[in-house]
Symmetry: C2
Subunit: 139 residues, 2 copies
Amino acid sequence: MEKVRPFSQALDRLRDAGLRPTRQRLALAKLLFDDCHRHITAEQLHSEALTGNIRVSLATVYNTLHQFTAAGLLREIVVDAGRSYFDSNTTCHHHFFDESSGLLSDVPKGQLEVTGMPVPPVGSEVESVNVVVRIRAAS
Amino acid sequence: MEKVRPFSQALDRLRDAGLRPTRQRLALAKLLFDDCHRHITAEQLHSEALTGNIRVSLATVYNTLHQFTAAGLLREIVVDAGRSYFDSNTTCHHHFFDESSGLLSDVPKGQLEVTGMPVPPVGSEVESVNVVVRIRAAS
DNA sequence: GTGTTTGCAAAGTGTTTGCAATTTA
DNA sequence: TAAATTGCAAACACTTTGCAAACAC
């Protein structure tokens, strides 16, 4: 008889974030965090869940993505007016956004250097610096 | 009697771009290009036009903004999932985006340097490199 | 049990589209 | 006059919301 496989990191992540580990959150967290880093939209995650026989509504996927983002487990990447992308890698890095396919990918470390922290307008403070390299299928 | 004031650059811009200088396009072009550079959304431009007694529909504002962008007169800036911004300054520069107010502004030249042109995934080519500094009202 | 979370369907937002009427050259 | 452009209203894609039922502790 097979041993119960050890818990993925998903449960601990939820606990640490103070989020109740509900069936839906756990399942989504596993999809998001168990393997390598992901760049994903709400729709994509939802259909991935359904494919994996995880019953979850699209509304809950949206809620969950925002809760995870607020908890610092995800980073929201704005590259497309009209669609939100979420990145399971919250460390500082830059992105390629393929306008032909809508695919988001990481710029390998060291290829792009941003130097200098700009002085924000008075009364405001810098929250993050985002770099997006827009690409297209070569002509 | 007052002399007819000289044509703004708007008419020439439209001619050069091969766009028929209709009443609506001319009026929008004047709002966009006659004074200093603008960062503006379709809604904003539309209400600005109405305020200036220029009858134009929102649909036409959208069409016009996209035509101007395709013609290289404007640059589209993606900073907010759900809203498109257009910049009348098409030269290379970076932006502050104030998440509290939704205001877009330029990062003064020299404060932020991007070095290195990343190698895009095979089969694709770099179209542009966009840097957005997200800011917030200071706490 | 009690407060949290979920799912549904409806509402909301910004944007695009189809097509008849209007305008431009 | 012929072709391009406009305005309207309906359609659209994505996201959020309200609330009753289900769930976690």
